[in-house]
């Protein structure tokens, strides 16, 4: 599993405060927890921060890159913001691998963001939705995912850098959409050989739920069984990371040993 850290996100009050005050220490401390937990990619989202959005985005990216050379996922729903931010981050951090998070399967989004990815040598996360919004069924998700995948492949984005996100909705708001997302992963995994990456924004499933951690780790394992290869999550949640590692062992992706959790950490240089 490719672990995207969700924690450097302005939706969190501490990160929003850090951006407002240009306080690097807060960001660095949070980041270290994510790295120790096993994060492979750092998702960067400025959230509802006030002020210069482009400047904040570049500052947050550079602040993260002071601590780690791991890839960054530049996260915004605003295509126009990404069009401005991606070249600036690319220029500021020429050696860092980047992922654009995210693009929908709507034509105007793809027209802007896919050439941006190619021009800046980034990966891409494609949402299985278009101008009509989030689909309420499996079929439309698969259709959108396949459309995005084909467009990105044709434009020259390598298959291993294309992530399909079947869009996770909160369980209390949309109780049928979790299994629809799981089924969409299963069906999209056979659209192309080799398949692209599949990613979820995990915490969406448990928004405003008291047992959010249990919901997160249970749902993540269900998605992994369907073919999930990446997730945006809190890598400092050790129970969650232990569930990821255990599921990988049960899938045969890691060779079992009695200390398999430690073995996983040793492989990552974390133990």
């Amino acid at each position: 599993m490719i672990i995207f850290s969700e924690r450097i996100n302005g939706m969190y009050r501490d990160v929003r405060g850090a951006i407002a005050e240009c306080n690097k220490t807060i960001v660095h401390d949070l980041l270290k927890e994510q790295l120790v937990g096993g994060a492979d990619v750092i998702d960067i989202n400025i959230g509802p921060t006030k002020g210069d959005a482009v400047g904040n985005f570049v500052w947050l990216s550079q602040t993260v890159a002071e601590v780690t050379d791991k890839p960054l996922s530049l996260d915004s729903a605003k295509a126009n913001l990404l069009v401005e931010v991606v070249p600036k981050v690319r220029q500021a951090l020429p050696k860092t691998r980047l992922v654009i998070n995210s693009c929908t399967a709507a034509a105007d989004y793809m027209d802007k963001l896919i050439p941006l990815a190619v021009a800046n040598g980034t990966g891409m996360i494609g949402l299985t939705m278009d101008q009509e919004g989030v689909p309420g069924n499996v079929e439309k998700r698969v259709e959108c995912g396949a459309t995005f995948l084909m467009r990105a492949l044709e434009a020259g984005v390598p298959i291993e850098d294309i992530y399909i996100d079947p869009i996770i909705l909160p369980i209390h708001a949309a109780p049928k959409q979790q299994m629809n997302a799981v089924e969409a992963i299963r069906q999209l995994a056979i659209v192309n050989d080799p398949p692209p990456q599949f990613i979820v924004g995990l915490s969406n499933v448990s928004q405003k739920c008291p047992y959010h951690k249990l919901l997160n780790r249970t749902f993540l394992v269900m998605c992994m069984a369907a073919g999930l290869t990446a997730a945006i999550l809190d890598a400092a949640d050790t129970d969650l990371m232990d569930a990821v590692i255990t599921a990988e062992v049960l899938q045969g992706k890691q060779l079992y040993s009695d200390d398999y959790i430690k073995a996983w950490k040793m492989q990552k240089g974390l133990a």
């Binding site: 060779l255 079992y256 040993s257 009695d258 200390d259 073995a263 040793m266 492989q267």
Partner: protein, 319 residues
């Protein structure tokens, strides 16, 4: 119809391990032996590299073996009460490594002292300039007394010391680390335990890059397929990036082969099984060459005819 490209893209690689040290490297060996380094499935040249060829170690015991059958007695009987002479014979027969077994230290086989074991090792080191693989007697309490002394006496020679297990690993790992030897990790026919022993050894601070895996061995007709499948699974895990399984493998083919009734029985069984002087060596050679296809890196052998067949096989397919 186009032929599909079957080439695999592997992210991992077997690590290389060098045994022995020349005078320039602080030892007294005439040459060193390097094993491992494969970046693909064994013998699939298009799949990856095989930078090192498998090495042959020949058995030398520190006391006359009581149970070696006639075809082996004919080769070694005149030297087997003298480990130095025996080691020279092994070198003449084309060994890359001497596989020295300190069998006499076993409490039931003479209970030789650590000091006596040290003398044996020094004698063998003086007699031949090949790198050494050194095994205790497989009784952990005794090995923990003997092997640290042996490791100390052979400091600088970069020997391969056997073997640590899940139940007993601290003492020997510490000795190998202190006196800069390589280490064999042993888990009988269990790949999951094999990984576990490597985790435990690594926890002691011993570098996994200095480890050779011994998954135990079975001869042809006695469960060889189990060990073969362990070799395959270990190699696939390593090539997929599992650094805890990326160690070269040593197999004790001679010992296991010459326990089988097919190799041991004499010409009284010739009518059904063929003449004894050919049967045992053939059994040993077939077992060994099968394991080479599974990715074995060091084969411990006994009979010169088996050594010759395996050597030719290696020349044919690896060089």
């Amino acid at each position: 119809m186009p032929v599909p490209d079957a080439k695999e893209k592997w992210s991992g690689r077997i690590q290389t391990v060098t045994i022995g040290a020349t005078p320039a490297e602080g030892g007294t060996r005439g040459r060193t032996v390097t094993i491992g380094g494969q970046s693909g499935i064994p013998l699939l040249g298009f799949d990856g590299e095989m930078p090192c060829v498998p090495a042959i170690a020949i058995d030398v015991c520190d006391k006359p073996p009581l149970d070696w059958p006639k075809p082996l007695a004919e080769v070694y009987g005149d030297v087997w009460s003298d480990p130095a002479a025996w080691a020279k014979r092994a070198k003449e027969l084309g060994a890359d490594l001497i596989n020295l077994r300190l069998a006499s230290t076993h409490p039931d086989e003479g209970d030789a002292s650590p000091a006596q074991a040290v003398e044996t090792v020094k004698t063998v080191l003086k007699a031949v300039d090949l790198p050494l693989v050194i095994w205790g007697c497989d009784v952990p309490e005794k090995d923990q007394q003997v092997m640290p002394k042996v490791a100390e006496a052979a400091e600088g020679e970069n020997c391969l010391l056997g073997a640590v297990t899940e139940g007993a690993y601290r003492t020997l790992a510490a000795a190998a680390l202190a006196y800069k030897h390589k280490l064999i990790t042993l888990a009988p026919c269990d790949i999951n335990k094999s990984k576990q022993v490597n985790i435990l050894v690594s926890d002691t601070g011993f570098p996994l890059t200095d480890v050779v895996i011994y998954p135990t061995t079975a001869s042809l007709g006695y469960g060889m397929e189990y060990v073969y499948s362990i070799l395959e699974r270990g190699r696939l895990a390593a090539l997929s990036g599992d650094r805890l399984m990326a160690q070269p493998v040593i197999l004790d083919v001679g010992y296991e082969t010459w326990r089988s009734k097919e190799a041991r029985s004499g010409d009284e069984a010739a009518e059904a099984l063929g003449p004894a002087h050919l049967r045992g060596p053939a059994w040993e050679a077939v077992t060994a060459t099968d394991y080479l296809q599974g990715g074995a890196d060091v084969l411990v052998l006994r009979h010169p005819k088996a050594v010759e067949v395996v050597r030719n096989w290696i020349k044919e397919f690896f060089v």
